[in-house]
C-alpha cells in the first residue's frame, strides 16, 4: 500500500532531518518525483505541508527554551513570505526541466557545504550551548545583542524566501549564516529564529500551490504523519547522537537524488 510507504518515507526523512539539523524536506520532493511518479511541481507543493509540520513542532520546542527572537523573525518574515509567495506564483509558468535542474543544483550545493564543513552540520557553539543549557536546568544564557544591518537582512531574506517558494525548502542554510554573521545575532538565536520563520514562509507559498491544485492531499497526509513522528523521535535522540556518519548518509542520499534528477533531465524522461 502506497500510504504505508509514504508514512515510512516521511518518518525517515523527519528523523534524519531532526538528527542532522537539516530539514528532511529537501529529500522529499525529489523522492516523490523520482520514485512515486509525481510531477516535480506537485512534489514540491506536497512536501511543503511536511515542511510546515516540522517547523511548527520543532519551533514550539525552541520557543519554550526562549531562544527565538520573535521580533527579528517577524520582521524578516515580511521579506521571506513576500519572496516565497511571488516565486510560488511564478513556478506555475516554469517548465519542468528548469525546476528539476534547479533542484539538482540546490542538492549539490547543500551536499558540498556539509562536506566542506567536514560533516559537522551542527556548529560547535550550538552544541556547547545545548550542553550548557542542560546543566542550568534548561535555562539558556544568551548574551545581549542588537541585530545589525536590517536592509541587508531583509534583502537576503527575500532571496531565501524566493528559493523556498521555488523549491519547497526551508532556506535555513541561507538564513542562519545571514543572521549569525551579518546581523550579529548569537548562533543559537539565529538557528531557532530561522526555524520559527520557516512555517510562515512555507505557508505563504503553500497557499499558492494549494490554490493551483499542486498539493496532493492523499500524498501529503501520510507524508506529514510520518514526518511528524520521525522528527519527534529525532528531537529526542538528537542530544544523545552526534554521529558524523549520519551527515554523510544525508550527503550520499542528496548526491544520489541530484544525479538521478540530472540523468532524467538529460534523457528527457519526463518531458
Amino acid at each position: 500500500m502506497v500510504s504505508v510507504l509514504l508514512v515510512v518515507l516521511g518518518f525517515f526523512a523527519g528523523l534524519l532531518g531532526a538528527l542532522t539539523g537539516i530539514g528532511g524536506g529537501i529529500l522529499l520532493s525529489p523522492i516523490l518525483a523520482l520514485h512515486f511518479g509525481i510531477p516535480i511541481r506537485q512534489a514540491i507543493g506536497t512536501s511543503l505541508v511536511a515542511v510546515i509540520t516540522t517547523s511548527a513542532a520543532s519551533s514550539s520546542v525552541h520557543l519554550q527554551r526562549h531562544t527565538t527572537d520573535i521580533r527579528l523573525g517577524m520582521t524578516l518574515e515580511l521579506a521571506t513570505a513576500f519572496g516565497a509567495a511571488v516565486t510560488a506564483y511564478l513556478v506555475g509558468y516554469f517548465n519542468r526541466s528548469a525546476l528539476e535542474g534547479l533542484f539538482a543544483a540546490f542538492l549539490l550545493y547543500s551536499s558540498f557545504t556539509i562536506l566542506w564543513r567536514g560533516g559537522k552540520v551542527k556548529p560547535e557553539e550550538a552544541l556547547a550551548a545545548e550542553a550548557n543549557g542542560k546543566q542550568n536546568g534548561g535555562q539558556f544564557a544568551i548574551p545581549a545583542y542588537e541585530p545589525q544591518r536590517y536592509p541587508l537582512g531583509l534583502s537576503m531574506s527575500l532571496v531565501a524566501g524566493a528559493l523556498s517558494g521555488l523549491l519547497g525548502i526551508g532556506g535555513g542554510p541561507i538564513k542562519v549564516p545571514l543572521m549569525y554573521i551579518f546581523m550579529k545575532v548569537p548562533l543559537m538565536v539565529a538557528t531557532a529564529t530561522s526555524n520559527f520563520m520557516i512555517g510562515v514562509t512555507a505557508a505563504a507559498s503553500a497557499m499558492v500551490y494549494y490554490r493551483r491544485g499542486d498539493i496532493l492531499v492523499e500524498i501529503a497526509a501520510p507524508l506529514a504523519v510520518g514526518v511528524f513522528l520521525g522528527s519527534l523521535l529525532g528531537a529526542r535522540l538528537a542530544p544523545r547522537i552526534h554521529n558524523r556518519h549520519l551527515a554523510y548518509l544525508l550527503v550520499a542520499i542528496m548526491l544520489y537524488l541530484a544525479a538521478s534528477l540530472l540523468i532524467h533531465l538529460f534523457r528527457g524522461g519526463w518531458a
Binding site: 500510504s3 508514512v7 505541508v49 510546515i52 509540520t53 517547523s55 511548527a56 513542532a57 519551533s59 514550539s60 520546542v61 520557543l63 519554550q64 526562549h66 527565538t68 527572537d69 520573535i70 521580533r71 527579528l72 517577524m74 520582521t75 518574515e77 515580511l78 513570505a81 513576500f82 516565497a84 509567495a85 510560488a88 506564483y89 506555475g92 544568551i142 545581549a144 545583542y145 542588537e146 541585530p147 512555517g199 510562515v200 512555507a202 505557508a203 505563504a204 507559498s205 503553500a206 497557499m207 499558492v208 500551490y209 494549494y210 490554490r211 493551483r212 491544485g213 498539493i215 492531499v217 492523499e218 501529503a220 497526509a221 501520510p222 506529514a224 504523519v225 511528524f228
Partner: protein, 99 residues
Amino acid sequence: MSQLREPAFDRVVALVLRIGAFSCFFVMLAGLIARLFTKGHIPVEIERAGVLLMLATPVVRVIVACYLFFHENDRKYGFISLGVLVILMLGAVFGIGEH
C-alpha cells in the same frame, strides 16, 4: 529591544504551534485510518481538513503575535505582524483560478 525576552509571550506562541501541529497530526491520522474502512471521498476530505489546518497554523500564529504586540503597546511590531498577515492573505488570493 530584540534582546528582551518575554517568557509569557514565547509560551503562548509555542502553544499555538503545538496545538496546530498535534491537531493536524491526529486529523491526518484519522483520515489514514478512515481509508482502511471506507472508500470514496470521506477519507480524502478528512485529510484535506488536516492539510488546511496545517496551512492555517502559521497564519493563526501571526494573528496571535500581532494581538500580543498591540496588547503590550508595541505598535511597531504590531504593524509588522499585520504586514506579514496581509502578505499571507495576498498569497492565498493570488492563486485562485490558476489550475
